[in-house]
Symmetry: C2
Subunit: 444 residues, 2 copies
Amino acid sequence: MHCDTSPLLTDLYQLTMLQGYIDYGMMDTAVFEFFVRSLPPERGFLIGAGLETVLDYLETLTFSEEELAYLSSTEYFTSALVDYLREFTFTGHVHAVPEGTPIFANEPILRITAPLPEGQLIESRIINILHYQTLIATKAARCRLAARNRFRLIDFGLRRAHGAEAGLFAARASYLAGFDGTATVIAGHRYGIPISGTMAHSFIEAHHDEKEAFFHFARSNPGNVVLLIDTYDTEKGAVAATETAALLQREDITVGGVRLDSGDLIALSKRVRSILDDAGFPGIAIFVSGNIDEYQIGDFIAADAPIDGIGVGTRLDTSEDVPYLDCAYKLMEYGGEPKLKKSSGKETYPGAKQIDRLFADGIMTGDIITITDESCRGTPLVQTIMKDGERLRQRASLEDVRSYTLEQMATLPPYLMELDTVTPYPVSFSGRLLSLKEELESAV
Amino acid sequence: MHCDTSPLLTDLYQLTMLQGYIDYGMMDTAVFEFFVRSLPPERGFLIGAGLETVLDYLETLTFSEEELAYLSSTEYFTSALVDYLREFTFTGHVHAVPEGTPIFANEPILRITAPLPEGQLIESRIINILHYQTLIATKAARCRLAARNRFRLIDFGLRRAHGAEAGLFAARASYLAGFDGTATVIAGHRYGIPISGTMAHSFIEAHHDEKEAFFHFARSNPGNVVLLIDTYDTEKGAVAATETAALLQREDITVGGVRLDSGDLIALSKRVRSILDDAGFPGIAIFVSGNIDEYQIGDFIAADAPIDGIGVGTRLDTSEDVPYLDCAYKLMEYGGEPKLKKSSGKETYPGAKQIDRLFADGIMTGDIITITDESCRGTPLVQTIMKDGERLRQRASLEDVRSYTLEQMATLPPYLMELDTVTPYPVSFSGRLLSLKEELESAV
């Protein structure tokens, strides 16, 4: 039993609630929506991500006898619930914004329409998937925008990602938002993401000196020679790299780059660039890493640092400045009746909703959140993705999702592309939606 | 292939380095240590966690033919490397601080002694496991200290944890550091952690009114009745709960508690307590949730809020104020020679090390980081856990780890138990260790 595929990756209350729904025959159709309540002040937009992972989850969600036996052993559950779960498959519909679309507060990113117990059971894992991938795709998009098309960006974050799946999902979410690859091997295997990597300081230290390490690495990995030069002294390391490169030329091995992982990366990249150029190696690229985020990338651009590629690790995979989003998955309708939560600071907008996005000259100008049966003035973003538990289309390839995301990012208004967004993007609610909310609020 | 058990959950550079080690016969014994470079200002101590998970990983780490075929397909690797990986099992030694021990900057939390390629290959996943569990055990310990023994604490964080394994590991790490249970069902199955949970707002909203929902839930879950009372209006919800409780008494069903998930929890808990008491239900407990962390728990204590239990979610599972630790796994020795990294701001202390902890009247007074063959003045913390790839003892039960952790937390000096630590705990280096470092620094 693996935590990434087990149906037991859920909150206990989903199951205790199901017991109530089943005992009282509450099997009518429910509508749940996943949305973000408010954007953190550090984010002007979000990039929705994780949809394909959710669809995989819904297509394969079943309980094994061993998992059912565990549930029975807890003494929380009746045999009626266990029997229901034994037969469980997801039979509902999924409507969603395509992965890679910019989204804002209160917008329905994903809607589930299903018999109430089905829609309920899947809540915890749906949030778990969409929340994290959206968090990381957003952070990655900010890095991509800051880097313009000047720097290659590689995800280096596995080691400090929060567990195994965070490492895998961060590679996926950052790639779809414009990164060029990842160091995480399993992400190459699982998603076909280009993988990238060379050597750590331990490789240098295990040798008698840097040059011996450089030669060994290059001869063993002749197609992939990026030398780490900051283990002892970065400038001396750069000189050693040029001396190594000169000798390796005789063996037809090309040194592709050097990596700097510490110190003042702007100043050092300039000095290293001079050392490389002066030694006749203008083609050796400079790669940097070490607790980098979009703000530092902005500094590299501002300083015109001669950097070619950047490994972005911890601060990407943990979304360090914003480690979570205030997101929720809420009941919007049951048995045809719109539903409302009034809890202080956590009110919901009732009913199944659509996002109507307006554009001018290909640039986003504003969104209106509407009731699904209203006609749209602009482009409706929420699409039908799955019907009766079946995907309507083949799984989207990650390359296609990435292309779509980059196109979408190009429709952001310039003020949202800044790292510090002062002007919020205009999102309004349709008159009909506001009336419905008011009506229900006064009725409760 | 699951990301939590696949050997491909690693950084590509581990494999490119291995190719160099194998080509050049660098199979001598290496010593690597995992440590935290510096404590974040928000943390006065850390609780080391994740060791048992690391041991499980090391005991089961092998490559399948399918995984080897993927590696071959990348064209990064020679058949010599693939053949080596086909036969791979971990044959080294593990020395470590027992899980649940308070630890500080530069202290060796875990040491691997193994042939160089083995010690190298496991780096990424070892950091991935120890970093996150230590992060969360530390956050949880702070919550436990803030809560004293006044409040039951339950992990509610799965939905906004960073992926599946983060949800599972957060349940484990918070339980070992003094939490009383988790809402995450799979953590009950996997680790035997007590699971806890009742209902969400959707359960209330799917019914015609709160009371109908309360009755349905209670009759379907008679052993586990905690009613969520803030969906529409918390005080009216509390009155409805007492009316429900009175009627359920006739059916021999006891309402165990109510839950508040929004608003001013201190003020509301006091008002709800009065409503419950005035209606003759002093035994109904008050449970609260909603973006709570150790600071709010401290406020609850200061305000003498009549709270019995707390669901701690997002801010626990993401360690919101400190979402990562500056930790590393570094080569300390190879072929009997101590090794050193000098990179600016990332220098290491060479050689295999021990932690010598001093106590006075059962309270920690200071640590000395020593070379392993030095004699200790106090208690040596680093123990032999695995030899030649085999655990020396049976797997520690999580209950035993939890008891040990709580005992260890009781040895913290009072100034470290404050949420804001002004005085740092004294950690020094032995003279011999400092001399060795200096000697190597001048030699490089």
